[in-house]
């Protein structure tokens, strides 16, 4: 029985409560609030169990914080310490609690074996990747319709706008608003692959572009069609499947746009899925006119889903993986760019996007974190002339 090297202790001190800590397993992404007495006890674990007359103070603080949205604080513990509920546990109960949160483990090999994809929705042994954890949480704990959740976490209730009080609004929408104003023009043929409810199609069309929105979800497309403005049209196609985009003529688009969609073709979305990016990229290359541009706006390869740690205005994070993702869902840059080059595209621009200033008033912690550690990356690629 010991504390694995994956555990860190973070102070959550205040004047009135100086002795309060977060014990966090940064790989398992599990947390427990602990008092100094528990911290000391971590150094003499074999004694804890026999101290059943003693009571140790800790706090149950872990929560699956991404239930608030994919771009919500991913730190997995309740941030408002005023709401932390005290737990006074005897030695046996404390050990059980520490093991439950992977702050203490019995066997290193057994623990490490848990870092594998989940085998199915009821698999609570393997930690799995983010998509799997999220799906399990939504289906079994929240009992929410995943389609409704996906829309709610990003869009306003009327589905006509990106929520301004989220980082989607403060980074992605603000950026694309400016992008559309500068880059769209009358007669430009744009294809939005994975268009969802069509909000960005409407944005591009407002600035004169002729936009084709493509999505495999009829549910999203029906929302898109109900809210469509002139210059847009929407079709259901199986993106990324052989022949899926054959209805789109070759060399027909000046610009292909993908927002938060490309990553799903690199990392399996559900257990057993075969993610194959090559079919999709070959289609994009085929669809683009010579000199046409592919614009990819995706969560950042390094910083998406890393915990927002430290003081509100002096953030830091802990990065536990980059080249070989067990949890993360965005491929490393070399893999993404390598695949794009293989498909006949070359990079002409890259930006790492920060939040608009207004967001400081909504969520200071999120603002300061996203300002230092970009949460989206923009790649622009052009088709290599043959």
């Amino acid at each position: 029985m010991f504390v694995p090297k994956d555990v860190i202790l973070l102070p959550e001190s205040s004047r009135t409560r100086p002795d309060r800590w977060v014990a966090m397993n940064v790989f398992a992404r599990s947390c427990l609030g602990v008092s100094g007495e528990v911290v000391q006890a971590l150094g003499r674990l074999d004694d804890i169990g026999v101290l059943d007359e003693k009571r140790f103070l800790c706090w149950d603080i872990e929560r699956f914080s991404n239930e608030d949205g994919l771009l919500a604080d991913p730190s997995r513990f309740v941030r408002d310490t005023a709401t932390w509920a005290e737990l006074w546990l005897d030695g046996t109960a404390l050990l059980e609690k520490l093991k439950m949160h992977s702050i203490v483990i019995d066997d290193e090999a057994v623990y490490r074996a848990r870092f594998q994809p989940k085998r199915h929705l009821l698999d609570h042994r393997n930690f799995g990747n983010f998509h799997q954890q999220h799906g399990q949480h939504m289906a079994l704990k929240k009992r929410e319709d995943p389609a409704a959740w996906w829309m709610r976490q990003k869009f306003a209730p009327d589905l006509l706008a990106v929520r301004p009080e989220t980082l989607y609004g403060a980074i992605q929408w603000k950026f694309l608003e400016e992008f559309a104003a500068h880059r769209m023009q009358s007669g430009l043929e744009v294809i939005d692959l994975g268009c969802g409810t069509g909000i960005y199609c409407n944005l591009m069309a407002k600035h004169g572009a002729s936009v084709l929105g493509v999505d495999p979800s009829e549910e999203y497309l029906s929302v898109a069609r109900n809210n469509a403005i002139g210059g847009t049209r929407f079709v259901n196609m199986k993106i990324g499947q052989a022949g899926g985009l054959s209805g789109i003529p070759s060399a027909s688009a000046d610009m292909v746009l993908m927002v938060d969609a490309l990553l799903f073709y690199f990392v399996p979305f559900y257990p057993g899925q075969q993610a194959d990016i090559s079919i999709l990229l070959a289609d994009i290359s085929r669809i683009l006119k010579p000199g046409g541009v592919f614009v990819s706006l995706e969560p950042h390869a390094a910083f998406y889903l890393t915990p927002w740690l430290g003081a509100v205005d002096r953030p830091f994070t802990v990065i536990t993986e980059y080249l070989h993702k067990e949890f993360g869902v965005v491929p490393p840059l070399s893999e993404m760019i390598g695949s794009l080059i293989k498909a006949g595209l070359f990079v002409t621009a890259m930006q790492e996007l920060g939040p608009h200033y207004y967001f400081k008033n909504f969520d200071p912690r999120g603002y300061h974190f996203a300002r230092e550690f970009p949460l989206w990356q923009l790649l622009e690629l052009r088709k290599i002339p043959t």
Binding site: R119, H120, L121, L140, P271
Partner: protein, 84 residues
Amino acid sequence: MSNNQAVLDFFVRHGVRPLPIGDAALSVAYLDVGLIDSLGIVTLISELESKLGVQFSAEDMQSYEFQTVGGLIAILDRLTGTSG
């Protein structure tokens, strides 16, 4: 409809192949052997809850018992206060 019948009936309608006859069905780990997929489990939970008027707890769904046909029936028996 008994809990036993409700569970077996679900797998007859949604399983990709039939369950073994008799007691052999009880030990089948229906997800491990691919009898239903992850979407199927969501259907199973909501259908059994609404049909039998029960609510599975997070602990029920995290248990290994939940992952076999017989274990699932045993959990339902406890939730409905039925023995066997």
